[in-house]
Each structure stands twice: as structure tokens, then as C-alpha cells.
Amino acid sequence: MNKIIEIVQDLDTNKVYQELSHPSSGGICVFVGSVREFTNNEQVMALEFETYETMALKEMDKLADTALEKWKLNKVVIKHAVGKKEVQDAVVIVGASSAHRSECFEACRFLIDTLKETVPIWKKELFKNKSVWVSAHP
């Protein structure tokens, strides 16, 4: 299988190299998004992720297919975590492997940029005295 699509409670960053490894791949590019301690100088206690799972998996699958069409890739991984995540926890992993490095870099950047635009997952920032749905309001 040349694509791995998952929505999970906890992401295992250790597995991703093995999942993307391929005898025809000389390059593997991985992006991990993690919880930052501060947003606009306000301390974040945690992030809470919610998803419309059936649709999110479909959109992630389309995203992987688009990348596989646009670039010559041997493997694609797209994984997102849901639930409550603390500072430094991994929340998303995207990656691609290809014969040469340009393709996997470009595909990896495309995967994370497009995931943020299309996949129905919502993030709430939990601060000390309030919580905010990210990007909800202009």
C-alpha cells in the first residue's frame, strides 16, 4: 500500500520512517506539527482536537491521491491526532518518500498546507481563563 491514512488518539513518531522507507526511495521528508507553548504571547495549556472522522479520512485520502498524482512518490503518510494534546505533543504527521529529494520535500509541504485548508478537523486553544476555536472568526 503506497499510502497510510490515520486518525488516532496518540501519534507514534517512531514508526513513520519505517512506514515511508522504500527500496526505490533515496529521500524521505517528514513534517510533524506539535503543540507550541505560546500563541501571541499567551500561554497555551493544551489543544483540543475534534474531527468529523468519516469525512476527514476521505479528505486525507484525496489529499494523498493528489500528491501521488502530482509527484513521483513511493509512499505517503498522513496522520492526525484527536483529543486533548499538551505542549510538545505531536498533533499531525505528514510525509512522503521518493527517488530524489525535491519531490518528497515539495509533496510534504503540499500535504501539510492542504490538510490545514481542507480536512475537517477543529482545534481549540485552551488558555488559563478562556478557550478559542482557532480560525473560527476573522
Binding site: 506539527g33 475537517p120 478537523i121 473560527a136
Partner: protein, 80 residues
């Protein structure tokens, strides 16, 4: 009309699933549903964007709604 709500949409409506009765205004298309929601919950008009998914696919304004469709209200996504 059975609707699913996520993220801030769930907070606005107060539930994640609701069989909403629009009475005589019952919307036939995605565009009409958006309008009906904004009329009943003005908070929807303040969002950066509002999308509707029909059977777990993004649906454009002209898509007609059928009674057995799974219809979801999609506020601005913010994964990653």
C-alpha cells in the same frame, strides 16, 4: 432535518446532532440551509466561513438536499 455540528458550530447550536425543524422555511439546497441557519443563529454570520458537507463531501451552494442525506455544518477548519 437531521444535522451534524462540529467545532464552534456545535457551541453555537449547543449540541452535536439535531433534528432541526425549519417549519415553512425548510431548506431545499445548501444555499438555503446556510441562510436558514444564519437566520436562526446569527453567530453563524460572524464566522470566517461556513461550509456544508453532504454525505461527508463538501457540497456547493447549488446542491439539493434529500431527506436521507447526512448533512454536516463545517465551520472554518483548523487541523494541523
Amino acid at each position: 432535518m437531521d444535522l451534524l455540528f462540529f467545532g464552534i458550530a456545535k457551541d453555537i447550536v449547543g449540541t452535536s446532532q439535531l433534528d432541526m425543524d425549519f417549519g415553512e422555511d425548510s431548506p431545499n439546497s445548501v444555499a438555503e440551509l446556510k441562510q436558514a441557519l444564519k437566520k436562526r443563529y446569527p453567530e453563524f454570520s460572524k464566522l470566517t466561513s461556513l461550509a456544508i458537507a453532504v454525505n461527508s463531501e463538501y457540497a456547493s451552494d447549488d446542491v439539493q438536499l434529500k431527506s436521507n442525506d447526512e448533512v454536516a455544518i463545517i465551520p472554518p477548519v483548523s487541523g494541523g
